[in-house]
């Protein structure tokens, strides 16, 4: 999942980025309002974590502008302002969630996961595809009752496919959502990771869940 973190306090930004990346998120960062605006327009993020007090353009103004212009990316406001008025103003400006500083990384991650589930209209944190179970909260994957250990990137790919199960996802989509701006890998890295994933998920099981649509991309088998 690709996340844009907008925060002007560098130490905080750094630790946020590291924390999210260690959880398998692809993280882009912006240190001021203008940069955030440009990035939000050019990339389709799953979630934007937005600070309110920002240089150049403040967070709420930016958010209202995005919403007005039809950018519907999920936005989690992360700010030191904790009064009810501030929260109401933030949510009424178009935010989907609101967190005040200081906060726990685990809570932030849970909220981000919840937002991503909402994005894909999933309520159950455990995604079941045939005999495959993906626990999005603990990031545990089981097939036929057997645990499968995945690297964060493999997990992210599997989750992405599961979120879009029954639908074709292009390599570009996978690339956009699983790799951040600093990643310089080439697009065939997606195929490499699909192969790794098939080895772990489909190799000893039937039916195969990850299907290849020639000329289009990949698809996870739908229900049933």
């Amino acid at each position: 999942m690709r996340v844009l973190v907008v925060e002007d306090h560098r130490p905080l930004l750094r630790s946020l980025r590291q924390g999210l990346e260690e959880e398998g998120f692809a993280v882009d960062i912006a240190e001021d309002g203008e940069e955030a605006d440009i990035k939000a327009r050019s990339t389709s993020y799953d979630v934007i974590v937005l600070d309110v007090m920002l240089p150049k353009i403040d967070g709420l103004t930016l958010l209202r502008k995005w919403r007005r212009e039809g950018i519907n990316t999920y936005v989690l406001i992360l700010t030191a302002r904790e009064t009810t008025d501030d929260k109401v103003r933030g949510l009424d400006s178009g935010a989907d969630d609101y967190m005040t500083k200081p906060y726990q990384l685990s809570e932030l991650l849970a909220r981000l996961r919840a937002l991503i589930r909402r994005e894909h209209q999933i309520k159950d944190p455990i995604i079941r595809v045939h005999d495959l179970e993906i626990d999005t909260a603990s990031r545990m994957v089981k097939r036929g009752g057997n645990s499968i250990s995945l690297t964060p990137r493999e997990y992210a790919l599997l989750e992405f496919l599961a979120f879009h199960r029954g639908k074709v996802v292009t390599r570009r989509m996978i690339w956009d959502h699983l790799y951040d701006e600093q990643d310089e890998s080439t697009s065939n890295v997606v195929d490499v990771y699909i192969r790794y994933l098939r080895n772990k998920i489909d190799k000893n099981f039937d039916p195969p869940l990850i299907l290849t649509r020639w000329g289009e991309g990949y698809m996870m088998r739908g229900e049933g």
Binding site: P55, R81, P102
Partner: protein, 607 residues
């Protein structure tokens, strides 16, 4: 707690009572005086009338007595009765024995007088003398009792009368009611007048007070009874004899016959009448007095009623008026009591208030507006403080949480600890600034005055900021007086350094790329001018006054690096004031801003 309303009502009631009491007393007093005057006049009138009626009664009695007297006078006649004298026939034996009996010799004289008469029918001189002597016993005033007038109305009491005449030897006529008593005849009564009358009162005898009228008048009639022929003669009172019956009299001009009549009557009836009159008068007096009393009592009642009604009406009116007068105050007080920390507006249209309260209301509204502003700013400040402190705190927590999630390489830990340190330093800086302001607020900030070469100090500040400025691509200039001594003043170097640092940092912060910063120190008279000029974005004129407020930022979106928490200029202003200086700001949007600090050469400790 004293209530305005009750105080006003109390004072008014006091005043009203005094005024009503005074007015009522005045009215009552003057009415009473008037009524009493009127009463005494009426009493006087009644008294006069009473006196007049008394006199009238007396006079009518007197008139009645006079009429009686005159009536008597008209009927009275002087009778000369020759035969009245006890005549004894001459007898020798008697004559001879006369000297032998007591007073006998006296009887001889009439006999002697009779002798010639007895013997000669003609009067002789001796006879004349004898007549005179006879007259002594025979002249009397006579009245035909049957013609006496029956006592009429005013004369119901017993009548007394006595008639005297000036006839020598005439015996007065006394009424039988007089008994043995007699009226004294006053000497010289009506001496030189033919007719005179005079009423008076006297005591006839002890216990018998009478009213008397004395009348002196001439007699109408005189009757002679012829000397008796020897033989009995019958006394007769008849129509006046031709000799005496001539119309009004003066039978003898030499000696007019006059009568003094005294008619008196008992005072019982008069006294009764007078008593009646006096009772009547007393009754009238009492009636008049009672009338006055009643009038006064009625006046008193009316006054009390009017005063009472006026008092009640005015009391109610006062109450109402006071209530009405205090209504705007109450509305103001209600409005004020509705003011809360949530809503600072004064819920009151000051135009609906009377002009007296308008200044209060507008002042209050102004104060509340200022308070609201301060409150909002304070709220904003708390938000700002929390933001300024929470962000680095969040960074520290986040970094440490991250560091503890899993084992990491030494290099990674070092990096994370460095981040934590930077955040902690930032928090420290903010806390320091807030403490500085708190110390300034509490008035415990100390100023250590000493000679400071400002030019040198300015150069040092500039050299500190220069790397920052150059990193931002800015030109930094420092202009100081040629003569270093010119820039030497007495001030607190630490505070001045803080002032310059803040201003220079601001200039770097809000400058445009490739802009300029100019620090100029110049001495003008006994003041040192320090100008910090930039070529930055400038500040809107309306906001110039506010930039020195705490946590105020002309641009709300900026880096949260702690230096720009909106405290820098607030501290600058406080410090400048502490050093007895002034700070002014001049700015043009898009062209730049110039801060000018003026410090006295010889600083005294400021407020």
């Amino acid at each position: 707690m004293r209530s305005i309303r009750w105080s006003l009502v109390g004072y008014f009631v006091l005043l009203l009572s005094l005024a009503l009491g005074g007015a009522s007393w005045l009215v009552y007093h003057s009415a009473r005086v008037t009524l009493e005057d009127k009463q005494s006049a009426v009493l006087q009138l009644l008294d006069n009338r009473y006196e007049a009626r008394r006199n009238e009664e007396r006079e009518s009695l007197d008139q009645a007595l006079l009429q009686q007297a005159l009536a008597l006078a008209g009927r009275v006649q002087i009778e000369v009765d020759w035969s009245a004298a006890p005549v004894r026939s001459f007898h020798v034996l008697g004559f001879l024995t006369a000297p032998g009996v007591p007073y006998g010799p006296l009887t001889t004289l009439p006999w002697l007088c009779q002798m010639p008469h007895r013997f000669s029918p003609r009067p002789s001189p001796g006879m004349l003398a004898a007549w005179e002597i006879w007259k002594l016993g025979g002249v009397s005033v006579k009245l035909n009792e049957s013609e006496l007038i029956v006592p009429s109305t005013p004369l119901e009491d017993q009548l007394f009368y006595q008639i005297d005449s000036n006839e020598p030897f005439a015996r007065p006529l006394r009424s039988s009611s007089l008994g043995d008593a007699s009226f004294p005849v006053g000497e010289g009564f009506g001496d030189d007048r033919a007719f005179y009358w005079e009423p008076d009162s006297l005591e006839l005898w002890p216990g018998e007070e009478v009213r008397r009228v004395r009348v002196k008048t001439s007699s109408a009639r005189r009757r002679f009874v012829r000397p008796p022929r020897l033989g009995p003669s019958e006394p007769r009172i008849g129509p006046p004899s031709p000799s005496a019956g001539r119309p009004n009299p003066e039978p003898r001009p030499r000696d007019p016959l006059s009568l003094t009549l005294q008619v008196a009557t008992g005072l019982t009836r008069l006294n009764e009448r007078l008593q009646e009159l006096s009772q009547e008068r007393d009754a009238e007096f009492a009636a008049v007095r009672e009338e006055t009393e009643v009038a006064l009592a009625r006046l008193r009642l009316r006054l009390i009623a009017v005063a009472g009604v006026t008092f009640l009406a005015t009391f109610a009116g006062t109450f109402w008026l006071v209530w009405l007068g205090l209504l705007p105050l109450r509305r103001l007080s209600d409005a004020v009591s509705r003011v809360s920390t949530r809503d600072f507006r004064l819920p009151l249209d000051s135009r609906s208030l009377p002009s007296e309260l308008n200044p209060i209301a507008s002042k209050l509204a102004g104060t509340l507006a200022a308070l609201k502003q301060a409150f909002t700013r304070e709220k904003q400040a708390i938000g700002d403080i929390s933001h300024e402190l929470r962000t680095p705190l969040a960074a520290i927590l986040m970094t440490t949480e991250l560091a503890l999630r899993k084992p990491r390489a030494n290099e990674e830990y070092r990096e994370m600890l460095g981040d934590c340190r930077a955040s902690a330093q930032q928090m420290n800086q903010i806390i320091e600034r807030m403490l500085t302001l708190a110390r300034l607020d509490a008035g415990v900030a100390q100023v250590r005055l000493q000679r400071v070469p400002v030019a040198e100090l300015a150069q040092r500040c500039v050299s500190v900021v220069r790397p920052l400025a150059e990193a931002a691509g800015l030109q930094l200039q420092c202009l100081t007086p040629d003569d270093e001594a010119d820039s030497e003043i007495t001030t607190d170097p630490d505070k001045l350094r803080e002032i310059l640092n803040n201003l220079l940092h601001n200039a770097v912060q809000y400058n445009r790329p490739q802009g300029q910063i100019r620090l100029r120190v110049a001495r003008i008279d006994d003041h040192l001018h320090i100008d910090v000029e930039d070529t930055g974005i400038g500040i809107e004129t309306e906001l110039l006054d506010r930039i020195f407020e705490r946590f105020y930022r002309a641009d709300p979106s900026r880096h949260t690096d702690g230096l720009n928490a909106g405290l820098g200029l607030a501290i600058v202003r406080e410090y400048v004031e502490l050093l007895s200086g002034t700070i002014a700001v001049n700015s043009k949007l898009g062209q730049g801003t110039c801060f000018r600090v003026e410090l006295p050469v010889q600083a005294t400790q400021g407020v």
